[in-house]
Protein backbone atom coordinates (compact mmCIF):
# COMPACT_ATOMS: atom_id res chain seq x y z
CA UNK A 1 0.00 0.00 0.00
CA UNK A 2 2.99 2.30 0.40
CA UNK A 3 3.85 2.14 -3.25
CA UNK A 4 4.44 5.61 -4.65
CA UNK A 5 1.49 7.51 -5.96
CA UNK A 6 2.70 7.63 -9.54
CA UNK A 7 3.26 3.90 -9.66
CA UNK A 8 -0.26 3.26 -8.44
CA UNK A 9 -1.58 5.55 -11.20
CA UNK A 10 0.14 4.46 -14.41
CA UNK A 11 -1.96 6.87 -16.47
CA UNK A 12 -0.27 9.79 -14.70
CA UNK A 13 3.15 8.46 -15.59
CA UNK A 14 2.13 7.84 -19.19
CA UNK A 15 0.72 11.34 -19.43
CA UNK A 16 3.86 12.96 -18.03
CA UNK A 17 6.09 10.99 -20.39
CA UNK A 18 3.95 11.90 -23.40
CA UNK A 19 3.89 15.55 -22.36
CA UNK A 20 7.68 15.62 -22.04
CA UNK A 21 8.08 13.96 -25.41
CA UNK A 22 5.68 16.43 -26.99
CA UNK A 23 7.57 19.35 -25.46
CA UNK A 24 10.83 17.97 -26.74
CA UNK A 25 9.49 17.40 -30.25
CA UNK A 26 8.00 20.89 -30.45
CA UNK A 27 11.28 22.39 -29.24
CA UNK A 28 13.24 20.48 -31.86
CA UNK A 29 10.86 21.51 -34.63
CA UNK A 30 10.57 25.14 -33.50
CA UNK A 31 12.14 28.22 -35.07
CA UNK A 32 13.66 29.43 -31.83
CA UNK A 33 15.75 26.42 -30.88
CA UNK A 34 15.26 23.83 -33.58
CA UNK A 35 14.97 23.18 -37.26
CA UNK A 36 12.20 25.69 -37.89
CA UNK A 37 9.47 23.39 -39.13
CA UNK A 38 6.93 24.88 -36.75
CA UNK A 39 6.23 28.58 -37.09
CA UNK A 40 6.41 30.79 -34.01
CA UNK A 41 2.70 31.50 -34.24
CA UNK A 42 1.96 27.78 -34.25
CA UNK A 43 4.18 27.27 -31.22
CA UNK A 44 2.07 29.94 -29.55
CA UNK A 45 -1.10 28.12 -30.54
CA UNK A 46 0.30 24.92 -29.00
CA UNK A 47 1.39 26.76 -25.87
CA UNK A 48 -2.05 28.32 -25.50
CA UNK A 49 -3.62 24.91 -26.00
CA UNK A 50 -1.54 23.56 -23.11
CA UNK A 51 -2.92 26.37 -20.92
CA UNK A 52 -6.45 25.50 -22.01
CA UNK A 53 -5.71 21.88 -21.09
CA UNK A 54 -4.65 23.06 -17.65
CA UNK A 55 -7.93 24.88 -17.01
CA UNK A 56 -9.72 21.85 -18.47
CA UNK A 57 -8.11 19.73 -15.75
CA UNK A 58 -9.41 22.17 -13.18
CA UNK A 59 -12.81 21.95 -14.83
CA UNK A 60 -12.65 18.18 -14.74
CA UNK A 61 -11.85 18.27 -11.03
CA UNK A 62 -14.79 20.51 -10.20
CA UNK A 63 -17.23 18.96 -12.64
CA UNK A 64 -16.10 15.45 -13.44
CA UNK A 65 -15.08 14.58 -9.88
CA UNK A 66 -17.02 16.92 -7.59
CA UNK A 67 -20.08 17.10 -9.84
CA UNK A 68 -20.34 20.88 -9.82
CA UNK A 69 -20.93 22.06 -13.38
CA UNK A 70 -19.34 25.46 -13.17
CA UNK A 71 -20.11 27.67 -16.14
CA UNK A 72 -17.89 30.43 -14.83
CA UNK A 73 -14.35 29.17 -14.62
CA UNK A 74 -13.18 31.43 -17.41
CA UNK A 75 -13.80 34.29 -15.03
CA UNK A 76 -10.89 32.99 -12.96
CA UNK A 77 -8.85 32.31 -16.09
CA UNK A 78 -9.41 35.88 -17.24
CA UNK A 79 -8.62 37.35 -13.84
CA UNK A 80 -5.31 35.48 -13.80
CA UNK A 81 -4.58 36.95 -17.23
CA UNK A 82 -5.51 40.44 -16.09
CA UNK A 83 -3.28 40.21 -13.02
CA UNK A 84 -0.16 39.28 -14.96
CA UNK A 85 -1.22 41.59 -17.80
CA UNK A 86 -1.20 44.56 -15.43
CA UNK A 87 2.43 43.98 -14.56
CA UNK A 88 3.47 43.30 -18.16
CA UNK A 89 1.76 46.40 -19.42
CA UNK A 90 2.92 48.62 -16.58
CA UNK A 91 6.51 47.52 -16.71
CA UNK A 92 6.81 47.74 -20.47
CA UNK A 93 5.14 51.12 -20.59
CA UNK A 94 7.42 52.33 -17.82
CA UNK A 95 10.49 51.36 -19.85
CA UNK A 96 9.14 53.04 -22.96
CA UNK A 97 8.19 56.19 -21.07
CA UNK A 98 11.55 56.35 -19.29
CA UNK A 99 13.39 55.94 -22.57
CA UNK A 100 11.30 58.65 -24.18
CA UNK A 101 11.73 61.05 -21.27
CA UNK A 102 15.46 60.50 -20.98
CA UNK A 103 15.75 61.98 -24.48
CA UNK A 104 14.75 65.31 -22.94
CA UNK A 105 17.13 67.96 -21.67
CA UNK A 106 16.33 67.48 -17.99
CA UNK A 107 16.47 64.02 -16.40
CA UNK A 108 12.87 62.85 -15.72
CA UNK A 109 11.35 63.10 -12.25
CA UNK A 110 9.33 60.24 -10.74
CA UNK A 111 6.18 62.35 -11.09
CA UNK A 112 6.77 62.84 -14.81
CA UNK A 113 7.34 59.15 -15.31
CA UNK A 114 4.21 58.22 -13.40
CA UNK A 115 2.09 60.72 -15.35
CA UNK A 116 3.63 59.49 -18.60
CA UNK A 117 2.80 55.87 -17.85
CA UNK A 118 -0.71 56.84 -16.77
CA UNK A 119 -1.27 58.73 -20.03
CA UNK A 120 0.04 55.86 -22.10
CA UNK A 121 -2.06 53.21 -20.39
CA UNK A 122 -5.27 55.05 -19.59
CA UNK A 123 -5.33 57.54 -22.46
CA UNK A 124 -7.76 55.29 -24.35
CA UNK A 125 -10.33 55.56 -21.58
CA UNK A 126 -9.80 59.31 -21.24
CA UNK A 127 -7.87 59.31 -18.02
CA UNK A 128 -4.32 59.48 -16.82
CA UNK A 129 -4.73 58.62 -13.14
CA UNK A 130 -3.85 55.21 -11.85
CA UNK A 131 -6.86 53.43 -10.37
CA UNK A 132 -6.36 51.96 -6.93
CA UNK A 133 -6.19 48.41 -8.25
CA UNK A 134 -2.96 49.24 -10.07
CA UNK A 135 -1.24 50.11 -6.80
CA UNK A 136 1.01 47.05 -6.95
CA UNK A 137 1.34 46.79 -10.73
CA UNK A 138 5.04 47.63 -10.47
CA UNK A 139 5.76 44.53 -8.42
CA UNK A 140 6.09 41.28 -10.35
CA UNK A 141 6.09 39.25 -7.17
CA UNK A 142 2.84 40.72 -5.90
CA UNK A 143 1.09 40.50 -9.25
CA UNK A 144 2.18 36.86 -9.54
CA UNK A 145 0.71 36.28 -6.11
CA UNK A 146 -2.49 37.99 -7.25
CA UNK A 147 -2.69 35.56 -10.18
CA UNK A 148 -3.57 32.94 -7.59
CA UNK A 149 -5.04 35.07 -4.82
CA UNK A 150 -7.56 37.16 -6.73
CA UNK A 151 -9.32 34.27 -8.51
CA UNK A 152 -9.02 32.29 -5.30
CA UNK A 153 -10.64 35.04 -3.27
CA UNK A 154 -13.45 35.53 -5.76
CA UNK A 155 -14.08 31.79 -5.76
CA UNK A 156 -13.98 31.72 -1.98
CA UNK A 157 -16.53 34.51 -1.58
CA UNK A 158 -18.80 33.37 -4.39
CA UNK A 159 -18.52 29.72 -3.41
CA UNK A 160 -19.15 30.45 0.24
CA UNK A 161 -22.34 32.32 -0.63
CA UNK A 162 -23.50 29.76 -3.16
CA UNK A 163 -22.71 26.55 -1.29
CA UNK A 164 -23.84 27.90 2.05
CA UNK A 165 -27.31 28.44 0.66
CA UNK A 166 -27.19 24.92 -0.80
CA UNK A 167 -27.58 25.98 -4.40
CA UNK A 168 -26.91 22.85 -6.43
CA UNK A 169 -27.22 21.35 -9.88
CA UNK A 170 -28.37 23.49 -12.74
CA UNK A 171 -29.14 26.37 -10.39
CA UNK A 172 -25.53 26.56 -9.42
CA UNK A 173 -24.49 26.32 -13.06
CA UNK A 174 -26.67 29.28 -13.91
CA UNK A 175 -25.40 31.20 -10.92
CA UNK A 176 -21.78 30.66 -11.96
CA UNK A 177 -22.74 31.77 -15.44
CA UNK A 178 -24.22 34.90 -13.95
CA UNK A 179 -21.01 35.45 -12.02
CA UNK A 180 -18.86 35.47 -15.13
CA UNK A 181 -21.44 37.59 -16.97
CA UNK A 182 -21.36 40.08 -14.12
CA UNK A 183 -17.57 40.18 -14.17
CA UNK A 184 -17.37 40.69 -17.90
CA UNK A 185 -19.98 43.46 -17.82
CA UNK A 186 -18.08 45.08 -14.99
CA UNK A 187 -14.80 44.91 -16.89
CA UNK A 188 -16.47 46.40 -19.96
CA UNK A 189 -16.89 49.69 -18.13
CA UNK A 190 -14.14 52.24 -18.49
CA UNK A 191 -14.54 52.92 -14.77
CA UNK A 192 -13.38 49.39 -13.93
CA UNK A 193 -9.80 50.65 -14.10
CA UNK A 194 -8.77 47.91 -16.51
CA UNK A 195 -9.21 49.90 -19.72
CA UNK A 196 -12.80 48.86 -20.41
CA UNK A 197 -13.38 47.06 -23.66
CA UNK A 198 -9.85 47.88 -24.85
CA UNK A 199 -8.49 45.40 -22.36
CA UNK A 200 -4.77 45.02 -21.83
CA UNK A 201 -2.57 44.64 -24.87
CA UNK A 202 1.00 44.14 -25.94
CA UNK A 203 1.33 41.35 -23.40
CA UNK A 204 3.52 39.24 -25.70
CA UNK A 205 6.42 41.63 -25.12
CA UNK A 206 8.31 40.75 -21.97
CA UNK A 207 9.73 43.89 -20.37
CA UNK A 208 13.49 44.04 -20.49
CA UNK A 209 13.76 41.01 -22.73
CA UNK A 210 15.39 41.50 -26.11
CA UNK A 211 15.06 37.89 -27.24
CA UNK A 212 12.95 37.46 -30.39
CA UNK A 213 9.38 36.16 -30.18
CA UNK A 214 10.49 32.82 -31.61
CA UNK A 215 12.48 32.28 -28.40
CA UNK A 216 10.02 33.91 -25.98
CA UNK A 217 7.24 31.77 -27.42
CA UNK A 218 9.19 28.67 -26.47
CA UNK A 219 9.81 29.92 -22.94
CA UNK A 220 6.09 30.24 -22.51
CA UNK A 221 5.52 26.92 -24.18
CA UNK A 222 7.84 25.26 -21.68
CA UNK A 223 6.28 27.10 -18.79
CA UNK A 224 2.82 26.02 -19.96
CA UNK A 225 3.96 22.43 -20.34
CA UNK A 226 5.50 22.49 -16.87
CA UNK A 227 2.36 24.02 -15.37
CA UNK A 228 0.20 21.44 -17.11
CA UNK A 229 2.41 18.61 -15.87
CA UNK A 230 2.41 19.88 -12.31
CA UNK A 231 -1.30 20.63 -12.44
CA UNK A 232 -2.04 17.15 -13.72
CA UNK A 233 0.10 15.63 -10.99
CA UNK A 234 -1.55 17.74 -8.29
CA UNK A 235 -5.11 17.05 -9.39
CA UNK A 236 -4.42 13.35 -9.95
CA UNK A 237 -2.99 13.20 -6.44
CA UNK A 238 -5.98 15.06 -4.97
CA UNK A 239 -8.51 12.72 -6.55
CA UNK A 240 -6.56 9.55 -5.89
CA UNK A 241 -7.03 9.26 -2.13
CA UNK A 242 -9.81 9.58 0.38
CA UNK A 243 -10.37 13.21 -0.64
CA UNK A 244 -11.18 11.95 -4.11
CA UNK A 245 -13.54 9.42 -2.58
CA UNK A 246 -15.33 12.12 -0.66
CA UNK A 247 -15.77 14.51 -3.56
CA UNK A 248 -16.94 11.72 -5.86
CA UNK A 249 -19.33 10.80 -3.07
CA UNK A 250 -20.57 14.39 -3.04
CA UNK A 251 -21.08 14.17 -6.78
CA UNK A 252 -23.10 10.95 -6.51
CA UNK A 253 -25.03 11.52 -3.29
CA UNK A 254 -24.46 14.73 -1.47
CA UNK A 255 -26.88 14.03 1.37
CA UNK A 256 -25.27 10.68 2.17
CA UNK A 257 -21.84 12.26 2.49
CA UNK A 258 -23.33 14.85 4.80
CA UNK A 259 -24.79 12.13 7.05
CA UNK A 260 -21.38 10.49 7.14
CA UNK A 261 -20.25 13.62 8.95
CA UNK A 262 -18.42 15.41 6.19
CA UNK A 263 -19.07 19.11 5.82
CA UNK A 264 -20.04 18.99 2.15
CA UNK A 265 -20.00 22.77 1.78
CA UNK A 266 -16.41 23.01 2.99
CA UNK A 267 -15.29 20.37 0.54
CA UNK A 268 -17.06 21.99 -2.35
CA UNK A 269 -15.63 25.33 -1.40
CA UNK A 270 -12.13 23.88 -1.16
CA UNK A 271 -12.39 22.25 -4.59
CA UNK A 272 -14.00 25.31 -6.15
CA UNK A 273 -11.27 27.58 -4.79
CA UNK A 274 -8.45 25.22 -5.72
CA UNK A 275 -9.71 24.95 -9.29
CA UNK A 276 -10.11 28.72 -9.45
CA UNK A 277 -6.45 29.13 -8.47
CA UNK A 278 -5.37 26.62 -11.13
CA UNK A 279 -7.52 28.45 -13.67
CA UNK A 280 -5.86 31.73 -12.67
CA UNK A 281 -2.42 30.26 -13.30
CA UNK A 282 -3.56 28.87 -16.66
CA UNK A 283 -4.87 32.30 -17.63
CA UNK A 284 -1.67 34.02 -16.54
CA UNK A 285 0.28 31.76 -18.88
CA UNK A 286 -2.25 31.97 -21.71
CA UNK A 287 -2.64 35.70 -22.22
CA UNK A 288 1.06 36.61 -22.60
CA UNK A 289 1.00 34.14 -25.50
CA UNK A 290 -2.23 35.57 -26.88
CA UNK A 291 -0.87 39.11 -26.50
CA UNK A 292 -4.17 40.71 -25.54
CA UNK A 293 -6.93 40.26 -23.00
CA UNK A 294 -10.27 42.01 -22.99
CA UNK A 295 -13.59 41.55 -21.19
CA UNK A 296 -15.05 39.46 -24.02
CA UNK A 297 -12.69 36.70 -22.89
CA UNK A 298 -14.67 36.19 -19.69
CA UNK A 299 -18.08 36.27 -21.37
CA UNK A 300 -20.25 33.27 -20.39
CA UNK A 301 -19.74 31.57 -23.76
CA UNK A 302 -16.04 30.90 -23.04
CA UNK A 303 -16.80 28.94 -19.89
CA UNK A 304 -19.46 26.94 -21.69
CA UNK A 305 -16.93 25.98 -24.36
CA UNK A 306 -14.74 24.77 -21.55
CA UNK A 307 -17.53 22.44 -20.46
CA UNK A 308 -17.90 21.33 -24.08
CA UNK A 309 -14.22 20.42 -24.34
CA UNK A 310 -14.26 18.45 -21.12
CA UNK A 311 -17.50 16.69 -22.06
CA UNK A 312 -16.24 15.75 -25.50
CA UNK A 313 -13.00 14.50 -24.00
CA UNK A 314 -14.82 12.60 -21.29
CA UNK A 315 -15.25 13.91 -17.78
CA UNK A 316 -14.15 12.13 -14.67
CA UNK A 317 -10.89 11.23 -16.36
CA UNK A 318 -8.11 13.78 -16.33
CA UNK A 319 -6.57 12.65 -19.59
CA UNK A 320 -10.06 12.87 -21.10
CA UNK A 321 -10.20 16.57 -20.28
CA UNK A 322 -6.77 17.07 -21.87
CA UNK A 323 -7.59 15.07 -24.98
CA UNK A 324 -10.95 16.79 -25.46
CA UNK A 325 -9.53 20.27 -25.03
CA UNK A 326 -6.53 19.73 -27.24
CA UNK A 327 -8.59 18.01 -29.91
CA UNK A 328 -11.51 20.46 -30.04
CA UNK A 329 -9.50 23.65 -29.72
CA UNK A 330 -6.93 22.62 -32.32
CA UNK A 331 -9.54 21.33 -34.75
CA UNK A 332 -11.51 24.49 -34.07
CA UNK A 333 -8.60 26.74 -34.99
CA UNK A 334 -7.93 24.60 -38.04
CA UNK A 335 -11.50 24.99 -39.28
CA UNK A 336 -11.96 28.64 -38.37
CA UNK A 337 -8.48 29.57 -39.56
CA UNK A 338 -9.55 28.84 -43.11
CA UNK A 339 -7.13 25.93 -43.53
CA UNK A 340 -9.84 23.33 -43.95
CA UNK A 341 -10.79 22.81 -47.60
CA UNK A 342 -14.27 24.05 -48.46
CA UNK A 343 -16.70 21.51 -49.85
CA UNK A 344 -18.36 22.51 -53.10
CA UNK A 345 -21.73 20.82 -53.46
CA UNK A 346 -22.37 22.44 -56.81
CA UNK A 347 -25.45 24.36 -55.68
CA UNK A 348 -23.84 25.46 -52.43
CA UNK A 349 -20.28 25.67 -51.19
CA UNK A 350 -19.80 24.75 -47.56
CA UNK A 351 -17.35 27.21 -46.10
CA UNK A 352 -15.97 25.76 -42.88
CA UNK A 353 -15.42 29.18 -41.40
CA UNK A 354 -19.20 29.53 -41.41
CA UNK A 355 -20.23 25.96 -40.78
CA UNK A 356 -17.72 24.78 -38.22
CA UNK A 357 -19.76 26.00 -35.24
CA UNK A 358 -22.85 24.26 -36.58
CA UNK A 359 -20.84 21.07 -36.86
CA UNK A 360 -19.37 21.54 -33.38
CA UNK A 361 -22.77 22.21 -31.84
CA UNK A 362 -24.36 19.19 -33.42
CA UNK A 363 -21.47 16.85 -32.69
CA UNK A 364 -21.65 18.04 -29.11
CA UNK A 365 -25.31 17.03 -29.00
CA UNK A 366 -24.39 13.65 -30.43
CA UNK A 367 -21.59 13.12 -27.92
CA UNK A 368 -23.91 13.98 -25.03
CA UNK A 369 -26.57 11.64 -26.34
CA UNK A 370 -24.58 8.67 -27.53
CA UNK A 371 -21.13 8.86 -25.95
CA UNK A 372 -21.47 10.41 -22.51
CA UNK A 373 -18.00 9.12 -21.74
CA UNK A 374 -16.53 11.23 -24.52
CA UNK A 375 -13.46 10.46 -26.57
CA UNK A 376 -11.62 8.99 -23.63
CA UNK A 377 -14.19 6.24 -23.23
CA UNK A 378 -12.85 4.88 -26.51
CA UNK A 379 -9.36 5.08 -25.07
CA UNK A 380 -10.63 3.17 -22.04
CA UNK A 381 -12.17 0.50 -24.25
CA UNK A 382 -8.93 0.21 -26.20
CA UNK A 383 -6.89 -0.03 -23.01
CA UNK A 384 -9.38 -2.55 -21.61
CA UNK A 385 -9.06 -4.72 -24.71
CA UNK A 386 -5.27 -4.78 -24.59
CA UNK A 387 -5.46 -5.71 -20.91
CA UNK A 388 -7.77 -8.58 -21.73
CA UNK A 389 -5.41 -9.64 -24.49
CA UNK A 390 -2.55 -9.61 -22.02
CA UNK A 391 -4.31 -12.01 -19.71
Amino acid sequence: MNRSFVVRNPSVLIFLVLLSLFTLVVTILSEGFGVGLLSTSFVKVLGKTLCLCLIAIAMDLIWGYAGILSLGHFAFFGLGGYMIGMWLMYERTRQIVENALSEGVLPPTPEEISTGIGNQIFGVVGSSDFPLIWAFADSLVLQLAFVVLVPGLLALVFGWLAFRSRVTGVYLSILTQAMTLGLSLYLFQNASGLRGNNGLSGLQNLPGVTAPQSVVSLWFFWASALALGLGYLLVAWVVSGKFGSVIRGIRDNEARVRFLGYSVETYKLAVFTLTACISGIAGALYYPQAGIINPAEVAPIASIYLAVWVAIGGRGRLYGAVIGTAFVSLVSSWFTGGQAPDIDLGFYAIKWVDWWLVLLGLSFVLVTLYAPGGISSFVDKLAGKTMEADR
Binding site: M1, R258, F259
Partner: protein, 246 residues
Protein backbone atom coordinates in the same frame (compact mmCIF):
# COMPACT_ATOMS: atom_id res chain seq x y z
CA UNK B 1 -29.33 3.77 32.29
CA UNK B 2 -28.77 7.39 31.40
CA UNK B 3 -30.55 9.11 28.56
CA UNK B 4 -28.67 9.55 25.28
CA UNK B 5 -31.23 11.42 23.21
CA UNK B 6 -34.19 13.34 24.50
CA UNK B 7 -36.75 14.79 22.11
CA UNK B 8 -39.41 16.87 23.82
CA UNK B 9 -42.42 18.77 22.55
CA UNK B 10 -41.27 18.87 18.93
CA UNK B 11 -43.66 20.10 16.25
CA UNK B 12 -43.06 20.41 12.51
CA UNK B 13 -45.51 21.52 9.89
CA UNK B 14 -45.27 21.74 6.11
CA UNK B 15 -47.65 24.29 4.62
CA UNK B 16 -50.06 23.86 7.49
CA UNK B 17 -49.86 20.06 7.60
CA UNK B 18 -48.50 18.90 10.97
CA UNK B 19 -46.10 16.10 10.20
CA UNK B 20 -44.88 15.95 13.80
CA UNK B 21 -47.18 17.04 16.59
CA UNK B 22 -45.75 17.68 20.05
CA UNK B 23 -43.61 14.56 19.90
CA UNK B 24 -41.57 13.45 22.88
CA UNK B 25 -39.14 10.55 22.74
CA UNK B 26 -36.23 9.26 24.80
CA UNK B 27 -33.63 6.61 24.28
CA UNK B 28 -30.88 5.37 26.56
CA UNK B 29 -27.29 4.47 25.71
CA UNK B 30 -27.08 0.88 24.50
CA UNK B 31 -30.76 0.36 23.84
CA UNK B 32 -32.48 -1.21 20.85
CA UNK B 33 -35.78 0.44 19.97
CA UNK B 34 -38.23 -0.19 17.18
CA UNK B 35 -40.43 2.62 15.90
CA UNK B 36 -43.52 1.51 14.06
CA UNK B 37 -46.52 3.30 12.66
CA UNK B 38 -48.71 3.52 9.59
CA UNK B 39 -47.79 5.52 6.50
CA UNK B 40 -47.63 9.24 7.21
CA UNK B 41 -47.18 8.71 10.95
CA UNK B 42 -44.07 10.91 10.80
CA UNK B 43 -41.39 8.23 11.10
CA UNK B 44 -39.12 9.58 8.38
CA UNK B 45 -39.70 13.19 9.43
CA UNK B 46 -38.72 12.18 12.95
CA UNK B 47 -35.40 10.95 11.62
CA UNK B 48 -34.99 14.07 9.49
CA UNK B 49 -35.37 16.19 12.61
CA UNK B 50 -32.89 14.26 14.69
CA UNK B 51 -30.27 14.24 11.93
CA UNK B 52 -30.67 17.95 11.23
CA UNK B 53 -32.21 17.69 7.78
CA UNK B 54 -35.43 19.34 8.92
CA UNK B 55 -35.58 22.04 11.52
CA UNK B 56 -38.48 21.78 13.99
CA UNK B 57 -40.85 24.70 14.51
CA UNK B 58 -40.90 24.24 18.28
CA UNK B 59 -39.46 21.84 20.82
CA UNK B 60 -36.11 20.65 22.12
CA UNK B 61 -33.67 17.96 21.11
CA UNK B 62 -30.98 17.26 23.68
CA UNK B 63 -28.05 14.96 23.06
CA UNK B 64 -25.50 13.10 25.16
CA UNK B 65 -24.20 13.50 28.69
CA UNK B 66 -23.80 17.24 28.32
CA UNK B 67 -27.35 17.64 26.96
CA UNK B 68 -26.25 19.61 23.89
CA UNK B 69 -29.08 20.98 21.79
CA UNK B 70 -29.01 19.58 18.26
CA UNK B 71 -31.30 22.23 16.86
CA UNK B 72 -29.46 24.49 14.42
CA UNK B 73 -26.49 22.15 13.99
CA UNK B 74 -25.62 21.09 10.45
CA UNK B 75 -26.13 17.49 9.34
CA UNK B 76 -22.38 16.97 9.23
CA UNK B 77 -21.86 18.17 12.80
CA UNK B 78 -24.70 16.03 14.11
CA UNK B 79 -23.17 13.06 12.33
CA UNK B 80 -19.79 13.89 13.85
CA UNK B 81 -21.44 14.17 17.26
CA UNK B 82 -22.29 10.48 16.94
CA UNK B 83 -25.59 9.97 15.18
CA UNK B 84 -25.55 7.68 12.18
CA UNK B 85 -28.39 7.24 9.75
CA UNK B 86 -29.30 4.54 7.29
CA UNK B 87 -31.72 5.43 4.56
CA UNK B 88 -34.69 3.41 3.40
CA UNK B 89 -33.23 2.83 -0.03
CA UNK B 90 -29.70 1.49 0.18
CA UNK B 91 -27.45 4.47 -0.53
CA UNK B 92 -23.86 3.47 -0.97
CA UNK B 93 -21.45 5.10 -3.38
CA UNK B 94 -21.99 2.74 -6.27
CA UNK B 95 -19.02 3.86 -8.35
CA UNK B 96 -16.57 3.22 -5.55
CA UNK B 97 -15.28 -0.02 -4.14
CA UNK B 98 -16.57 -1.52 -0.92
CA UNK B 99 -13.23 -0.70 0.67
CA UNK B 100 -13.43 2.95 -0.40
CA UNK B 101 -16.97 3.14 0.95
CA UNK B 102 -15.91 1.80 4.31
CA UNK B 103 -12.76 3.94 4.42
CA UNK B 104 -14.84 7.04 3.90
CA UNK B 105 -17.10 6.09 6.78
CA UNK B 106 -14.28 5.18 9.16
CA UNK B 107 -14.23 7.32 12.27
CA UNK B 108 -11.43 9.79 11.44
CA UNK B 109 -10.87 13.52 11.23
CA UNK B 110 -13.38 14.80 8.68
CA UNK B 111 -11.60 18.11 7.86
CA UNK B 112 -10.61 18.59 4.19
CA UNK B 113 -6.90 18.97 4.90
CA UNK B 114 -6.72 15.91 7.11
CA UNK B 115 -8.66 13.95 4.50
CA UNK B 116 -6.42 15.23 1.70
CA UNK B 117 -3.27 13.92 3.38
CA UNK B 118 -4.92 10.80 4.78
CA UNK B 119 -3.31 7.50 3.88
CA UNK B 120 -4.81 4.39 5.53
CA UNK B 121 -2.60 2.82 8.17
CA UNK B 122 -2.35 -0.90 8.89
CA UNK B 123 -4.71 -0.45 11.83
CA UNK B 124 -7.29 1.20 9.58
CA UNK B 125 -7.11 -1.65 7.11
CA UNK B 126 -7.45 -4.18 9.90
CA UNK B 127 -10.50 -2.37 11.20
CA UNK B 128 -12.04 -2.46 7.74
CA UNK B 129 -11.34 -6.17 7.39
CA UNK B 130 -12.99 -6.69 10.76
CA UNK B 131 -16.07 -4.68 9.70
CA UNK B 132 -16.24 -6.52 6.39
CA UNK B 133 -16.22 -9.81 8.25
CA UNK B 134 -19.00 -8.53 10.53
CA UNK B 135 -21.25 -7.69 7.57
CA UNK B 136 -20.12 -10.66 5.52
CA UNK B 137 -18.46 -8.74 2.71
CA UNK B 138 -14.84 -9.81 3.15
CA UNK B 139 -14.59 -11.26 -0.34
CA UNK B 140 -16.15 -8.27 -2.02
CA UNK B 141 -13.85 -5.58 -0.55
CA UNK B 142 -12.13 -4.67 -3.86
CA UNK B 143 -15.36 -4.82 -5.87
CA UNK B 144 -17.24 -1.76 -7.06
CA UNK B 145 -20.24 -1.52 -4.74
CA UNK B 146 -22.67 -0.92 -7.59
CA UNK B 147 -22.19 -4.58 -8.52
CA UNK B 148 -23.43 -5.81 -5.13
CA UNK B 149 -26.84 -7.40 -4.59
CA UNK B 150 -29.58 -5.43 -2.88
CA UNK B 151 -29.03 -7.18 0.46
CA UNK B 152 -25.27 -6.75 0.27
CA UNK B 153 -25.74 -3.03 -0.29
CA UNK B 154 -27.94 -2.87 2.79
CA UNK B 155 -25.26 -4.59 4.83
CA UNK B 156 -22.54 -2.40 3.38
CA UNK B 157 -24.54 0.60 4.45
CA UNK B 158 -24.94 -0.81 7.94
CA UNK B 159 -21.22 -1.55 7.90
CA UNK B 160 -20.52 2.05 6.98
CA UNK B 161 -22.69 3.12 9.89
CA UNK B 162 -20.77 0.90 12.24
CA UNK B 163 -17.50 2.24 10.86
CA UNK B 164 -18.63 5.69 11.91
CA UNK B 165 -18.82 4.33 15.46
CA UNK B 166 -21.93 6.32 16.29
CA UNK B 167 -23.53 6.37 19.73
CA UNK B 168 -26.93 6.34 18.11
CA UNK B 169 -27.91 4.48 14.97
CA UNK B 170 -31.06 5.43 13.10
CA UNK B 171 -32.05 2.67 10.71
CA UNK B 172 -34.90 3.16 8.23
CA UNK B 173 -36.61 -0.09 7.11
CA UNK B 174 -33.51 -2.25 6.92
CA UNK B 175 -35.40 -5.41 6.01
CA UNK B 176 -37.29 -4.05 3.03
CA UNK B 177 -36.79 -6.25 -0.02
CA UNK B 178 -34.68 -8.84 1.74
CA UNK B 179 -34.89 -12.61 1.60
CA UNK B 180 -35.70 -14.39 4.89
CA UNK B 181 -32.07 -15.48 5.27
CA UNK B 182 -30.85 -11.97 4.74
CA UNK B 183 -33.34 -10.69 7.30
CA UNK B 184 -32.05 -13.04 9.88
CA UNK B 185 -28.53 -11.83 9.33
CA UNK B 186 -29.64 -8.20 9.47
CA UNK B 187 -31.40 -8.84 12.76
CA UNK B 188 -28.25 -10.36 14.17
CA UNK B 189 -26.12 -7.41 13.10
CA UNK B 190 -28.53 -4.90 14.65
CA UNK B 191 -28.93 -6.78 17.92
CA UNK B 192 -25.16 -7.11 18.16
CA UNK B 193 -24.70 -3.40 17.45
CA UNK B 194 -27.24 -2.45 20.13
CA UNK B 195 -25.09 -4.03 22.81
CA UNK B 196 -22.68 -1.10 22.72
CA UNK B 197 -24.82 1.73 21.45
CA UNK B 198 -28.38 2.93 20.98
CA UNK B 199 -30.16 1.70 17.86
CA UNK B 200 -33.51 2.98 16.58
CA UNK B 201 -35.09 0.84 13.89
CA UNK B 202 -38.01 2.22 11.91
CA UNK B 203 -39.91 -0.68 10.47
CA UNK B 204 -43.20 -1.68 8.90
CA UNK B 205 -42.72 -5.37 9.15
CA UNK B 206 -44.13 -6.70 12.45
CA UNK B 207 -42.41 -10.04 12.10
CA UNK B 208 -39.06 -8.32 11.84
CA UNK B 209 -39.85 -6.17 14.85
CA UNK B 210 -40.85 -9.20 16.85
CA UNK B 211 -37.50 -10.77 16.06
CA UNK B 212 -35.65 -7.69 17.32
CA UNK B 213 -37.30 -8.37 20.64
CA UNK B 214 -37.10 -4.88 22.04
CA UNK B 215 -39.13 -1.95 23.31
CA UNK B 216 -41.50 -0.57 20.67
CA UNK B 217 -42.71 2.99 20.11
CA UNK B 218 -45.86 3.42 18.02
CA UNK B 219 -46.16 6.72 16.15
CA UNK B 220 -49.42 8.02 14.80
CA UNK B 221 -50.14 11.40 13.21
CA UNK B 222 -46.83 12.74 14.37
CA UNK B 223 -47.15 11.80 18.03
CA UNK B 224 -46.42 8.81 20.26
CA UNK B 225 -49.48 6.61 20.46
CA UNK B 226 -48.09 3.86 22.65
CA UNK B 227 -44.81 2.57 24.01
CA UNK B 228 -43.70 -0.75 25.53
CA UNK B 229 -43.04 -4.32 24.53
CA UNK B 230 -44.47 -5.48 21.23
CA UNK B 231 -47.00 -7.66 22.98
CA UNK B 232 -48.01 -4.76 25.18
CA UNK B 233 -48.57 -2.31 22.33
CA UNK B 234 -50.35 -4.81 20.09
CA UNK B 235 -52.94 -5.23 22.85
CA UNK B 236 -53.42 -1.46 23.08
CA UNK B 237 -56.87 -0.56 21.74
CA UNK B 238 -55.66 2.69 20.11
CA UNK B 239 -52.97 0.82 18.22
CA UNK B 240 -55.45 -1.76 17.04
CA UNK B 241 -57.77 1.00 15.87
CA UNK B 242 -55.04 2.73 13.96
CA UNK B 243 -53.74 -0.39 12.30
CA UNK B 244 -57.05 -2.09 11.59
CA UNK B 245 -59.15 0.94 11.01
CA UNK B 246 -61.96 2.16 13.18
Amino acid sequence: MSTLLEVSGVTVSFDGFRAINNLSFQIAKAELRAVIGPNGAGKTTFMDIVTGKTRPDTGQILWGDKSVSLIGMSEARIAQAGIGRKFQKPTVFEEQTVQENLLMALRKDRGPLAVLFFRPSRADLDRIAELAAQIGLTDTLPRVSGELSHGQKQWLEIGMLLAQEPQLLLVDEPAAGMTPAEREKTTAILVEAAKTRAVVVVEHDMEFVRRLNCKVTVLHEGAVLAEGSLDHVTKNQDVIDVYLGR
